[in-house]
């Protein structure tokens, strides 16, 4: 078992004819993902990386039975691409694109929530269920199948965590990059619920960062509803207030969103916190031992 995606997931790429879309379609296919098609308006009928290209998502779904999509279209068209996927009834929508205007996401968010679709991202590395399905830009080979669910707001830091997990002999159930923007499709709480309900996930690694109050909300949720061991790391302890640290959402503003506040909230929920980014793998081991 796993969450969101598995070996039977059928994936299309929106923006497949772009350089990045094509590159990662190839990468996902090589990993073993069932890439069944792509969508680029006006390019229907072409074949890219051995898969058919369609003009619309609706047509791609009809012809290929796709139930997941990976979005690489430019930021100005991302809202449209997400809503098109929702309209076509795609179950799992993964938006990799960085730089989507916040108010576009404000408009898209309620429409996704009113549908049966799940949106991951935007501005995220994607989702991987090791040895089954990879949808996104992460290096597949560092992952291996195992008991830890990994959730994060960033990309390379997640790879670092996965690397450390593999080094301590722990594989992953599913790794999810939630995205580094202020408004993303799926919250940490929603993901915690999925991991809690997933029999293959025995422990959860939560990688957060400064900005907003998502980690505080997640901590409160863990305290009430999560029985599995949880470890966490918060990036940005050394970040000054008022400065955006790369991600659009990573900013301490109005005195809110500091690492110290988040760490205090996580500890109050009995979550094992890694002090150092080098300690993430060890922290999950401690969390798992403690719960025994």
């Amino acid at each position: 078992m796993s969450i969101l995606i598995n070996k039977s997931t059928r994936v299309i790429c929106q923006g497949i004819t772009g350089k990045v879309g094509q590159f990662h379609t190839k990468g996902c296919k090589e990993y073993g993902t069932q890439m069944v098609g792509g969508v680029t308006p006006g390019k229907g009928g072409e074949t890219i990386e051995g898969v058919p290209v369609f003009d619309t998502v609706a047509e791609a779904v009809e012809k290929t039975g796709a139930n997941a999509t990976m979005i690489f279209v430019p930021p100005a068209f991302t809202a449209d691409a997400i809503l098109e996927a929702v309209d076509a009834g795609i179950q799992v929508i993964i938006a990799i694109t960085e730089g989507v205007p916040v108010l576009d996401m404000v408009r898209v968010y309620p429409r996704v929530k009113a549908s049966k679709s799940v949106l991951i991202g935007p501005n995220c590395p994607g989702v991987i269920t090791p040895e089954e399905c990879k949808i996104g830009i992460m290096p597949g080979y560092i992952h291996k199948k195992g008991p830890v669910g990994v959730m994060s707001r960033s990309g390379t830091l997640t790879y670092e965590a996965v690397w450390q997990l593999s080094n301590v002999g722990l594989g992953q159930s599913t790794c999810v990059g939630l995205g580094g923007d202020p408004i993303v499709g799926t919250s940490q709480i929603e993901l915690l619920k999925m991991y809690q309900d997933d029999p293959a996930t025995e422990a959860i690694m939560l990688i957060g960062e400064i900005g907003g109050t998502a980690e505080e909300e997640a901590a409160a949720y863990v305290k009430e509803h999560v029985t599995k061991p949880v470890a966490a790391f918060i990036a940005g302890q050394a970040a000054p207030p008022g400065k955006r640290m790369g991600h659009a959402g990573a900013i301490i503003s109005g005195g809110k969103g500091t690492a110290a506040e988040k760490i205090a909230a996580l500890r109050a929920a009995n979550i094992e916190v890694a002090e150092s980014p080098a300690d993430m793998g060890a922290a999950i081991v401690r969390a798992m031992k403690r719960s025994k």
Partner: protein
């Protein structure tokens, strides 16, 4: 993107929001003339810089002069402008060096009955814009939020429906705004919410928002910040950008496709990915030193970007050592190693360089660095890298 107060007020005026009459001046003469044109008995001379806290801030070499001052004659307006223009203003937000003041706003005085606070931001928890008001005007909202959160009132609104009249009435009730002032509040609040959506703002802040003795609500100050990701559909706003207000190294980095934030420590950092870059700052601090910058080279760094990144990092005279921390995923370690070697040859390195590589093709990449015979300290793992770079900086 941030803009000046006078630019923000022009946008508000265009949307029917009440703001005092004002004129921008770039010389003492212009400031004196502006006072005369406004025609009132009093006016306020306000330094125009992007940082907040101007009223309490002082001129760097003249601590008697504040960044905002009430004046009572054209002569006095010119004198005050003369003491502010061309000088650095130091506020709680500028750092000790202050910011050069190139223009002042000369604004008509008004008779204030009450000072309030108003702010609009996108609230992450409710996934949409919210209007916040407080009866505590002129005070930092952070302070109010921490000490008396019950004095802040919030209303979420749909970007396309806009703020509704009943929401204005609710807020007025809570703020004790009554009678004819409610209509004035409605014009102002709805106008500000329209501005927020129309221009894809990330923040609109009016502090203080005043109720005049005549009962009118007016924006006495205005801070407007735009969502950088939405500027592609607001080309007209780009001309409002004032590059002299921005850190030159950050502007340069952005042009090269690098995400760079200047900090005050001694360890320069070059990292791929924002999360790993933040974590690199953290681990440096955990090992007893302070980072000189945040720098994310992104997912596909090439020789040109790495070279430029090194130049930007080394231009900071505080830097005593540089740490490169790369987790090669899609970007192969060999690619980044070659880029480092090329860049190292082009840029004059006067401080030690520590390199930590992990991920795709890492063994080959480490061999490339060793074979290059360059003076590069190799590290394995985050902790080793942090220890080595902190030691090298001493």
């Amino acid at each position: 993107m941030k803009i000046h107060e006078f630019q923000a007020k022009q946008i508000l005026r265009n949307e029917g929001v009440a703001v005092p009459q004002s004129i921008v001046a770039r010389s003492p003469e212009e400031a004196g003339a502006a006072f005369t044109t406004l025609g009132g008995a009093i006016a306020v001379v306000k330094a125009q810089i992007h940082a907040g806290g101007r009223g309490k801030g002082t001129i760097k070499d003249n601590s008697a002069q504040r960044g905002v001052q009430l004046v009572k004659s054209a002569k006095e307006a010119a004198e005050v402008a003369g003491r502010i223009l061309g000088k650095e203003l130091v506020t709680i937000q500028t750092g000790p060096d202050g910011k050069l003041v190139n223009q002042v706003l000369v604004e008509a005085g008004c008779e204030i009955a009450r000072e309030l606070y108003l702010g609009i931001v996108v609230d992450r928890s409710s996934h949409g814009p919210i209007l916040m008001v407080s009866s505590e005007g002129g005070v930092e909202i952070e302070k109010v939020a921490a000490e008396t959160p019950e004095k802040i009132f919030k209303e979420a609104f749909d970007p396309d429906l806009g703020l509704q009249s009943f929401q204005v009435r609710k807020l007025c009730k809570k703020l004790g705004i009554t009678g004819a002032s409610v209509a004035s509040a409605e014009r102002l609040m709805k106008g500000l919410c329209r501005v927020f959506v129309k221009y894809d703002c990330s923040m609109v802040e009016i502090n203080p928002l005043v109720v005049t003795k005549a009962g009118e609500l007016m924006a006495l100050d205005a801070k407007v910040t735009f969502d950088d990701n939405a500027l592609f559909r607001h080309k007209d706003l780009l001309e409002l950008r004032d590059l002299s207000e921005e850190e030159p190294s950050e502007v340069k980095a952005a042009e090269t496709g690098l995400s760079y934030v200047k900090l005050t420590g001694t360890i320069g950092c070059l990292v791929n990915g924002a999360g790993l870059a933040m974590s690199t700052l953290d681990i440096i601090q955990l090992h007893g030193a302070m980072p000189a910058n945040f720098l994310d080279v992104g997912g596909g760094a090439n020789v040109q970007q790495v070279t430029e990144a090194f130049r930007i990092i080394l231009a900071d005279k505080n830097v005593k050592a540089v740490l490169v921390n790369i987790f090669g995923g899609i970007m192969r370690c060999t690619t980044i190693a070659s880029a480092i070697i090329e860049a190292y040859k082009t840029v004059t390195f006067t401080v030690p360089l520590v390199v930590r590589l992990e991920g795709t093709e890492v063994a080959e990449a480490r061999k490339l660095l060793v074979d290059s015979k360059l003076n590069i300290i190799s590290a394995e793992g985050l902790t080793d890298a942090a220890k080595k770079v902190v030691a090298a900086a001493k």
